[in-house]
């Protein structure tokens, strides 16, 4: 491919050079003759000069055409990767093609009518993965006795590498550099060409449990995660583990999209699952249903199940298991003609946790806790989004302790590649004794910035 780009460039270069060599000779010769005689002969000389120049132009044009044909054959035989690099300012008058035949489209339309003038330097890096870095800076002010956070922090810098591996697979890796160290947030290979419509992912990944668990911090519409995530589903990292994921579209009623996902993980996920032995794997199952209510409105529903061992060890009877159930619903509205100015999203997620543990009296028990959140966001215009969220959740280890909270968010988008967000958060947070509460009033702000490759917009 490189040959394709360079060869014509060199040839064009040579022909231009030879033209420059010949042109001055013919151009400088006639004036000498002209100087020796009267105006008539000078006119004649000039005519001659014009004549020679016309010939020269015709010659050059033929040469160029020959070159272009040669290039056409060359590129056609290569089959792929046509280097089409034309440098032209917007609105400049047409080049060779339209100049020669302004009324007729070029007869060999397959070929880009181009001459390479610089550029194409990125070709050398073509096989590098798409690299991006997303910085997430968070500041917090106010008062929170139960789960205080730092006043100012570069919460994380997420480095992403994404590439197509071979004709059968692509890979995505995200490393998050936080204040306390580096974490492989996700790194997995996706096999896209399996039979029977199966999609296999292998590596470390955020489990397909509900919605918020699958979303990276920077893609959330709020600065923090819902209370239910922290109380029941492992906190910020959630269920994020090494394992395998198999998904497939399922037969569905008309106008519905159904997808089933089954995942098996080692069983180590923050505070929610712990693998004490090799056989303590955790599983996640997810069923998603989606339908377009209209061009601009759609409904996205899901149910999830997960099961794994808790961090209480494996030396008691049948071990300590945690069962998690989830249900999620999302309603989106985005008018297609004004998609960048107006949109609305409502989402609610419910979580049920059943956690085996020992009661204070050392009796085996299963704590059943429930948590939920509902959030809404509305895009006011191209740059401003407002939103709110209501949270309520019991604690996984003690369902009698219930946290409640609500938040209001405002986001400003200077461009697609940066966001500035403010969030007011109120929390009515349980203390260690049932019935004791502490109120938290906090103001959070966040700066997000994106470097490098343009990532896909989350949906």
């Amino acid at each position: 491919m490189r040959k394709v780009a360079i060869l014509p460039a060199v040839l064009v270069g040579c022909s231009v050079a030879s033209a420059q060599e010949t042109l001055p000779k013919t151009a400088s010769a006639p004036p000498e003759q002209a100087a020796s005689s009267g105006p008539e002969s000078r006119m004649k000389a000039l005519e001659e000069q014009v004549h020679t120049l016309t010939k020269q132009v015709a010659l050059l044009r033929d040469e160029l055409k020959a070159l272009r044909d040669a290039k056409a054959q060359d590129t056609a035989s290569q089959g792929h990767f046509l280097v089409a690099s034309t440098r032209a300012e917007p609105g400049t008058l047409p080049g060779i093609l339209a100049g020669v035949a302004p009324n007729a489209p070029e007869p060999t339309p397959q070929v880009a009518q181009t001459q390479t003038l610089g550029g194409a330097t990125s070709n050398a890096k073509l096989l590098n993965p798409d690299i991006s870095l997303i910085g997430d800076f968070i500041g917090t002010a106010g008062h929170n006795d139960v789960s205080p956070s730092r006043s100012l922090e570069l919460h994380e810098s997420e480095v992403g590498f994404q590439a197509i591996i071979d004709p059968y697979a692509r890979a995505d890796a995200f490393f998050s550099f936080g204040e306390e160290g580096v974490n492989v947030e996700e790194a997995y290979v996706t096999f896209t060409s399996l039979p029977a419509g199966l999609l296999l992912k292998v590596g470390k990944m955020r489990a397909d449990f509900g919605k918020v668990n699958t979303i990276h911090n920077h893609a959330l519409p709020y600065i923090d995660r819902p209370l239910a995530t922290n109380d029941l589903v492992g906190g910020e990292d959630g269920i994020d583990d090494a394992g395998l994921s198999l998904a497939r579209f399922l037969p569905a009623p008309k106008n519905w999209f159904l997808e089933g996902t089954a995942q098996v993980f080692r069983g180590d996920s923050s505070t929610v699952f712990a693998a004490n032995r090799r056989e303590d794997v955790s599983v996640v199952g997810h069923l998603r249903g989606y339908t377009d209510l209209s061009d601009s409105t759609n409904l996205d529903l899901g149910i999830s199940y997960s099961r794994g061992h808790s961090n209480l060890g494996s030396d008691f009877g049948s071990g300590f298991l945690t069962n998690l159930y989830g249900a999620d619903a999302t309603l989106r509205w985005k008018p297609l003609r004004r998609a960048i100015y107006k949109s609305f999203l409502f989402r609610t997620e419910l979580f049920w946790s059943g956690r085996d543990q020992l009661s204070p009296l050392n009796v085996f028990e299963t704590q059943h806790a429930f948590g939920m959140y509902s959030s809404a966001e509305y895009r006011l215009n191209r740059r401003w989004t407002v939103g709110g969220r209501f949270d309520r959740s019991g604690r996984a280890t003690n369902a009698n302790l219930t946290d409640t909270g609500f938040s209001g968010m405002v986001t400003y988008w200077p461009s697609e590649f940066s966001q500035i967000r403010g969030q007011y958060r109120f929390g009515h947070l349980a203390l260690t004794k049932p019935g004791d509460f502490s109120n938290a009033n906090e103001f959070l702000f966040q700066f997000l910035f994106v470097m490098g490759a343009h990532g896909a917009h989350p949906f």
Partner: protein, 316 residues
């Protein structure tokens, strides 16, 4: 303890196997022998229809009145992509924000990037505004590979149609003659139409215009117009007061009387500029299907040229 291990393992196995078992059904049945084509935009669908005729079925993901940079990767598209034999994309990173996840999740090996059923139309078109030198986002949401709005030049339309013809013939050699004949017919009609369009636009050759986004370089070049300013200060950056004031000054100085706006942009700023400068604001359609009457590639140019001429005439 032993029974627990077994139970967990069994649960894992059952979860995975149940899914496998439940879903391996008969392969999807396609409409009788037609090549199933999905395109990223309506223009590519229109061109495919021209050469594919009744041997294909084609559908576009984006609508004609939608900003092709910002399309939601809705799962409903996955079902369509899953059954596609051919996916035709604009390329040059126009769809980078939404198409890659759709392709990956489609579980359709035929249309994965680089597979025979993945067709990047930009490879066949004349591309303008390829940045040289350093490319940074200080220039806004620049497209490092060149301006992706290249289909708005009938010559590029013909080139793309040729590429699609060759691809369809390669996929269905038995119908190659049919596609070639449809292409020849399209070529003749587009050449005739182009002569008419050029003649219609000839009185306005050399006119300067302002557009909202950089969607029109190929169109402007073909019809001999000069795009000398943009309502957006940089691609993808919403209008700013300072830039708007500068633009108004420039338009007054250069006597620019026409502002072209894509249908998915807000008209507030263009209208304000129009009031200030006496310029006409005209909503041009960058894609087939932008308005109901724009049902094919020819009507797209018919519509835009008629609108432009009206606007030019109204200002003089």
């Amino acid at each position: 303890m032993y029974s627990s291990n077994l139970r967990t393992r069994a649960a894992a196995l059952i979860a995975a196997l149940a899914l496998l078992y439940a879903v391996i059904g008969p392969p999807p049945v396609h409409a009788a022998g037609k090549i199933q084509v999905m395109t990223a935009t309506t223009d590519l669908a229109a061109l495919t229809r021209e050469v594919g005729g009744d041997k294909i079925e084609v559908e576009s993901i984006a609508r004609g009145y939608q900003d092709p940079h910002f399309v939601d990767a809705k799962p409903s598209f996955l079902l369509k992509l899953k059954h596609a034999d051919l996916l035709i994309v604009v390329g040059l990173e126009l769809e980078i924000g939404w198409l890659p996840p759709l392709i990956t999740q489609s579980t359709n090996p035929k249309i994965q990037v680089g597979a025979p059923g993945y067709f990047d139309a930009s490879r066949f078109a004349r591309i303008l505004e390829i940045p040289t030198g350093q490319v940074t986002r200080a220039e806004g949401d620049v497209h490092p590979l060149g301006n992706p709005h290249y289909w708005l030049d009938p010559e590029n339309g013909l080139r793309i149609a040729k590429g699609i013809t060759d691809k369809l013939s390669e996929m269905r050699p038995s119908e190659a003659a049919y596609f070639a004949q449809r292409y020849a017919d399209f070529e003749q009609r587009i050449k005739q139409a182009d002569q008419r369009w050029l003649a219609e636009m000839k009185p306005y050759a050399g006119r300067k215009i302002v557009t909202y986004h950089r969607s029109w370089p190929n169109f402007a070049e073909h019809f001999h117009l000069y795009v000398v300013g943009y309502v957006e200060p940089r691609p993808g950056i919403p209008p700013s007061p300072q830039h708007t004031v500068e633009l108004i000054g420039q338009m007054k100085r250069d006597n620019i009387r026409v502002i072209c706006v894509e249908p998915y942009f807000d008209l507030k700023t263009p209208n304000a500029i129009g009031r200030e400068t006496g310029a006409q604001v005209v909503v041009l359609m960058p894609s087939v299907g932008g308005e109901k009457e724009i049902t094919d590639y020819f009507k797209l140019f018919d519509y835009d040229i008629a609108k432009l001429r009206q606007a030019f005439d109204a200002t003089h």
